[in-house]
Subunit: 150 residues, 2 copies
């Protein structure tokens, strides 16, 4: 069922579910897009602070977007206006069970296009120890619920 601007309220929390990381996937992704030694070279990574490979930040974003899309497929979002305070506070490791969620922190009608609403959310992903691995705020343009009389 389509969800419109009117269907989200400040304080609402939406659960995106889980994503389990995989070492092979981490290496494949980073080899293609972010081939720094601590993402792709196990021998190098063994000597770092973590003692093992860490996921690329872009891969962490990709995993998050994957579970976010699955959970919000029925949201009538027409575009992202901007992302703020994007952080990767804790390294993502192979075998981590990541859990994404979002909280609605603000909403208002668009001034220039009042047929749309602007919803601001606080998006986070935590690992199996409760540590935050991804944290940002985003404002998106959402369609308003069609007038049943029109």
């Amino acid at each position: 069922m389509a969800r419109y601007y009117e269907d989200l309220g400040v304080g609402d929390v939406i659960d995106y579910g889980e994503y389990t990381t995989d070492k092979g996937e981490m290496i494949d992704f980073a080899s293609r897009w972010d081939p720094r030694p601590f993402h792709v070279d196990e021998a190098f990574a063994a000597d770092t602070l973590y003692g093992q490979l860490t996921a690329s930040g872009v891969h962490t974003m990709a995993m998050f977007i994957r579970i976010c899309n699955r959970a919000t497929a029925d949201w009538q979002v027409r575009g992202a206006l901007g992302y703020e305070e994007l952080r990767f506070p804790t390294a993502v490791l192979a075998g981590d069970v990541l859990h994404g969620r979002t909280t609605v922190i603000a909403k208002r009608l668009s001034k220039s296009r009042p047929e749309y609403g602007i919803v601001t959310t606080h998006e986070t992903m935590t690992n199996q120890h409760g540590a935050t691995v991804l944290d940002f705020k985003v404002s998106v343009l959402m369609e308003r619920r069609p007038d049943p009389k029109s």
Copy 2:
């Protein structure tokens, strides 16, 4: 040659070079990570504002990180502290020739760890028409040049 905190000055511009987008790669990436119809379904995309598929924002970030890494492999960066004002002002289309660059906008020593410096940059990527497709600021932790006397 390794580049340290001392080697970057406010106002410096670093060119990351180019990345040419590919429709098959756009569909492959989005199918895996961001399978919304305007990224993966050509028939659907034909009826949108752009009349064709657009690249996923995560894919756009990945392409940028790829050329950034290639150009900054010798920078002694030890981590990203945070990203601000991340925007995707123009859609990325198949066949676009994207051009990345960064400008150093601030630098200071870390207060808590003065053996590191913090460098803030303004990162942008434009298409072949000069329109900005990606824009953000990031602060990174950089190693200071080792003391030759120590």
